[in-house]
Symmetry: C2
Subunit: 264 residues, 2 copies
């Protein structure tokens, strides 16, 4: 009989969505979720009051590449269909609370702030397609180097909806010319993970002045035999919601996603 | 120089979305739109008051196969982005007005009923994938026979959203066994036209008792070397909206779609 070791328990924790969520609920897991529960869809969190929910849902519907909807919960609903037994107000490793567009608080739960008119949006992130790209034999430098992906504001306008408007934020991954068609093919199958790229090469054409200075995340160099490839990024809806100065909106803390039971 | 004939003018009318819409606006076109403006996306129309719009948008988001969203207009907006210059209140060949779930009126325009809180949903229809299937060499009997497609209520539940709930309505097309994989491949590329089938063969398994008695449209026989293939149908959101007994909802009249400028 094998005695469970701390390593085995942690290993198990890392591999099961429900375990990551439970540990987050208990305050035992406060890390970024990248690499945990591999093979399961992780989601950006966005909570807005019902008064703004139609416009925000319309914004997501009109901008499916930056805002792929994994699930939208009914007003006040805490348990998502994509994660039975979960509680959206406690099971994310970290939350950020914004009032009138300003970050006022980062906290481990929002149960004490919860209101019956809160509408939760779970928006896909890039982890699923990154795994698939690497499994297809294409290396991704920021993953190899253990860095956050580089993200940039662009001049690509989102389609506005009500008070929600703004330009798209993109993530950038350097890809060798011979691999570009393959990463397009592979990523395009993952519509819930932002799908195919929005731009290949020529950063200036989408308003990026200096690749070495990302607006979010960490810069990784682009080698001479590579081109920068840009995907729509889940930071877009957060940036747009903040810019619209909602009375209240709640998001996950950077990198600390909601882990679903849905395979992606 | 060729003098334009009535036939040429009518031919032109049939082939241009804007011409179909303008003739509808002027009362000169009151026909079903199948076969007109080929190559352009046609849409089911659903208009609900803003008070119900979030729930209905959520219903569509949760049920993308029966309710593929071509466009959702802002409250009160009359001109869709998918058809610049169009007027949603006049440019459909026929409208139906439902109050508390009952059909009260069929009319040629709704401009005189229009309210600033009306939210318009344009929901994809099957015409785009039918053209592509036939271009791929697979015949479709109801088109050849000039009949309406056969549609059936099923026991496949839609994912509910607020007051909107109900079972899926499907359309049925007989397809030879050798062609079934091809129609799946081709139709799956047309997400805005209901995408891939939801069921192949065995009608009883989805609650259809008698194929020869469709709930809507016309029966076409299924030959011994064929299987009935079922697609999610745009009648679903209409049936669900009627069953929810909204104070008011407005749809297109059967077969009289809104013709967009979007190629599909």
């Amino acid at each position: 009989m094998q005695i469970p070791t701390f390593y085995n328990i942690m290993n198990n924790l890392h591999h099961q969505p429900a375990a990551v969520r439970l540990a987050s609920r208990n305050g035992d897991f406060t890390l970024p979720t990248a690499g945990h529960a591999p093979g399961f869809i992780q989601a950006n969190l966005m909570i807005v009051p019902q008064a703004q929910a139609f416009d925000f849902l319309l914004f997501c519907q009109r901008n499916p590449k930056p805002c792929p909807l994994v699930e939208v919960l009914a007003p006040g609903q805490l348990e998502p269909a994509c994660a039975p037994g979960a509680n959206i107000a406690t099971d994310v490793p970290g939350y950020r609370v914004y009032r009138h567009g300003e970050l006022v608080e980062e906290r481990g739960e929002i149960a004490s702030l919860w209101q019956p008119d809160f509408v939760t949006f779970l928006i896909g992130c890039s982890f699923s397609f990154e795994s698939a790209v690497m499994q297809a034999g294409v290396p991704l430098r920021h993953v190899e180097q253990g860095r956050n992906v580089a993200m940039y504001r662009t001049n690509l306008p989102c389609v506005p909806a009500g008070r929600f408007q703004g330009d798209m934020v993109v993530s950038m991954r350097p890809v060798k010319s011979r691999d570009i068609a393959r990463v397009v093919e592979v990523s395009s199958r993952f519509a819930l993970a932002h799908g195919a790229p929005v731009h290949v090469g020529n950063p200036a054409a989408i308003g990026i002045g200096d690749l070495s200075k990302p607006d979010y995340g960490d810069f990784v160099p682009v080698m001479p035999d590579e081109l920068p490839v840009f995907w729509a990024c889940g930071v877009t809806p957060q940036a747009v919601a903040q810019a619209s100065r909602l009375p209240l909106c709640i998001t996950h803390a950077p990198g600390k996603m909601f882990v679903t039971d849905q395979r992606g």
